[in-house]
Subunit: 503 residues, 2 copies
Amino acid sequence: MEQAYSRIEHQGLKDRVVSAEVAASWIQDGMTLGLSGFTRAGDVKALPHALVERAKNEVTFKVDVFTGASLGSDIDKIFAEAGILRKRLPFQADPTMRKKMNEGEFLFVDQHLSHTSEMLRANTLEQIDVAVIEAVGITEDGMIIPTTSVGNSLIFAENAKEIIVEINQAQTESLKGVHDLYSPGKQGERQPIPLTKPEDSIGTKGIPVNPDKIKGIIFTNQPDSPSNIVPPDAETKMMANHLIDFLKNEVKKGRLSKSLAPLQSGIGSVANAVFHGLLESDFEDLKVYSEVLQDAVFDLIDAGKVSFASGCSITLSEDKMNEVFGHFDRYKDQLVLRPQEISNHPEIIRRLGLISINTALEMDIYGNVNSTHVRGTNMMNGIGGSGDFARNARLAIFVTKSIAKDGKISSIVPFVSHVDHTEHDVDILVTEQGYADLRGLAPRQRVELIIKHCAHPMYREALMDYYQSALEKGGHTPHDLEKAFSWHSQYEKEGTMQPLVTV
Amino acid sequence: MEQAYSRIEHQGLKDRVVSAEVAASWIQDGMTLGLSGFTRAGDVKALPHALVERAKNEVTFKVDVFTGASLGSDIDKIFAEAGILRKRLPFQADPTMRKKMNEGEFLFVDQHLSHTSEMLRANTLEQIDVAVIEAVGITEDGMIIPTTSVGNSLIFAENAKEIIVEINQAQTESLKGVHDLYSPGKQGERQPIPLTKPEDSIGTKGIPVNPDKIKGIIFTNQPDSPSNIVPPDAETKMMANHLIDFLKNEVKKGRLSKSLAPLQSGIGSVANAVFHGLLESDFEDLKVYSEVLQDAVFDLIDAGKVSFASGCSITLSEDKMNEVFGHFDRYKDQLVLRPQEISNHPEIIRRLGLISINTALEMDIYGNVNSTHVRGTNMMNGIGGSGDFARNARLAIFVTKSIAKDGKISSIVPFVSHVDHTEHDVDILVTEQGYADLRGLAPRQRVELIIKHCAHPMYREALMDYYQSALEKGGHTPHDLEKAFSWHSQYEKEGTMQPLVTV
Ligand SMILES: CC(C)(COP(=O)(O)OP(=O)(O)OC[C@H]1O[C@@H](n2cnc3c(N)ncnc32)[C@H](O)[C@@H]1OP(=O)(O)O)[C@@H](O)C(=O)NCCC(=O)NCCS
Ligand SMILES: CC(C)(COP(=O)(O)OP(=O)(O)OC[C@H]1O[C@@H](n2cnc3c(N)ncnc32)[C@H](O)[C@@H]1OP(=O)(O)O)[C@@H](O)C(=O)NCCC(=O)NCCS
């Protein structure tokens, strides 16, 4: 306990320590909470559970929950099960929450991850009543030092009426110094963001707050949930190889140097596989400017391939977590964690000219991408930062397996059932079949490339048939709207997109 | 003629004057041309006509034509008719060109207007063989002074192997000094763009070029094509009023001051009507940070409502043109013309927190917007800058009349037939019926607002019926994919989207 208290260096705050139950009792029905946490890292672990307990005794108790991105520690699950949510934003990735949301049990607002902070600052989202932020500690002058993610914590703390801090003793104190907190200030009054390289440090080492706003401090001692990433398999390795081939070609053409350009990659197994693939490539002095730093980034640092990585969270598998946080000082000089507003800022993304790699659910023959909605209807996770990156990056790359559900679904379809990334924003498509480079191509030129290089062979003919019948109608982007969603409709009825054999 | 020569202040360039025919003879089959011109302003007027003449004697003669945006002087029309185009980008707005493109006669690449320059710089579009740029004159040190638009002229000049200049005597020399040419340089090597207010001047007064690159100079004497804007009618006035009501409300809520935020508006009659509406409002000290400066901007400057306007072209009706360019010194201190890369730069759009107003063809019940494709197939004009603005602005507003073709088409549909602006990027929808404020709302919340406030009464019930049947299927964004495009299909077959009366 004494050790825990030593993490509160600010003398006046030591007497604010309370139990999670007491803190939970402060939360009123109808409040808006801003919780730290981004992709299972740095989320607050005690208060959410206490809140669910507390709500059991209330007739009506609902809150709006804003976060950085998805949470670990089963928080989104228990929130959804307890039915205490009115609104949730801007991202989630929990199966139970997904189910309840799709049943319409609560409202989910799917936002670009760089947008939430602007809306809070502009007062177009409701004000945060209570920000709840996981911390390594609080400095003498009252700065909150975040843990393994920054996410939206800075703007939540700025915007909130009150703050509750969870000091998590399971998070190593050597995280101190890895954060770089910069707030751009109000639109119209702000200066350029003075960041021109991933390694630039432009802000403070913690979240500066008025200590009076800190209403309570809770001690916890629980590691982050490990990432549920699966190691590269044959298919993700093939996708990684195609992508690396593409990048090698860009180097050969003189468009990129051997250190490429700062890399952003979405979470997931393909992204991880791509980064693994870089280990054996002859690219060198790579830099990462991304949201989530996954296992492979640390392998690349170990191998001397990546010289610097900027992120807004560190999300690792169990083994890697022990390894990295057991020797965190080893990595500290090569890492920085920033607010998601800065990791995903259009200004920086365009300036640095990022290579951005994100995963799609489905793509269509013209290069439109669906990242979020299964059959246009059911939300999977959310758009996350993929839109911030795809619109503004140097290279917007989308990857997906060419088929899903044992081939019953083609991920290349005539018309995507929801558009998250328009044809204007999508440069390169990659599947295990190959890649299609769509830059500077007109719609009719894209079709053949996508079908030939990305679609699964079992669907190529049917895609070509669709295109041929659309071509008869003509147009800049030939479509036959009567058949555009027929693949999705057939799947719904027959359980497969494969052409039905007529007897 | 002497007067014309006096516009070439650089001594060594005076002997490069040639006829348009001679210059046209330099253009080879297969070349890529970068032509000045943005929304009918500042386009080169002689060489394109000479080129078409020349091509009449060639068996095969095709070129790629890159511009800022749409051209005037019938150039896109004669290019399309002559069949000399292989590829055209990034925007056009000519009916003949539209028709030929939709018939597949040439390739059109529809790009965000801020993207072309990055692609040229990164060497992912083919290099410009010849840049052809309209100028007021050439300075002693060889700077080309553009005329009524800047568009992509700076990057074309930088990127091109050779440059042909058209000095247009019909363009007033008092345009000198109104331009501000800034090139951000290569991605990854560039500094922040040092612009924090619309009136900041950050570059040079002309396009700096190596005079050796200037292969020829043509004299012309022909005004820009006037804009074909129609004056506000009852409906556009209603739309303007709704939009102004919305803005007033934002001021009331303390989210905006009386000088709002820098305004961007797309070209067209609604945008012009909105700006006209501002004349009678009590907003003050307004600033414009836009692409095209239309008639109303000058009325607002005259009325003392707008204190500064930054654009990348000046496109006026015939009367206004005479008035403005007859007394251009009157406006010069309150105007600047920039490259479209800067007027549309995500860095600046986000920093300044623009209010962006663009026109949609159709919108769906969840707030997705189609700006380009009629029935998902036929290209109208292109996405233009609307995507640069909508993704990164403080407020992304889209306007459209609720019906088209005498009510046979509802512009609010179950599912847009092409997505240019996703639900994540669209804040406010406006029709003559009212406005829907979609910020921070989940999809199911948006539907009722859009149907109630934006759809035409004659389509509200049918839209609600669609939504109800979709709701039975559930989901975060309820859709019935079998019926999603049924309105478009019915229009194609029956000539109307209105519910058919079954006897
Ligand atoms: C798109 C996304 C859902 C893919 O996730 P993933 O875990 O890599 O992909 P998987 O291949 O495992 O697919 C996930 C599920 O979708 C299903 N699926 C995949 N393609 C599908 C398709 N075209 N149609 C329907 N379902 C599909 C899979 O079968 C799997 O289902 P299961 O959960 O029942 O097994 C995920 O990357 C995402 O949410 N992206 C959007 C946010 C984003 O890009 N973030 C990065 C920047 S922040
Ligand atoms: C969307 C856009 C085409 C609207 O243009 P506009 O001239 O203001 O609109 P109009 O109402 O006159 O409509 C133009 C035509 O489309 C038709 N139309 C309008 N809505 C339609 C719909 N939902 N379905 C089919 N046709 C439709 C009109 O009937 C009209 O047809 P016509 O030319 O045969 O008379 C135009 O604003 C545009 O190209 N926008 C995209 C680029 C952009 O936003 N630029 C601004 C920033 S750069």
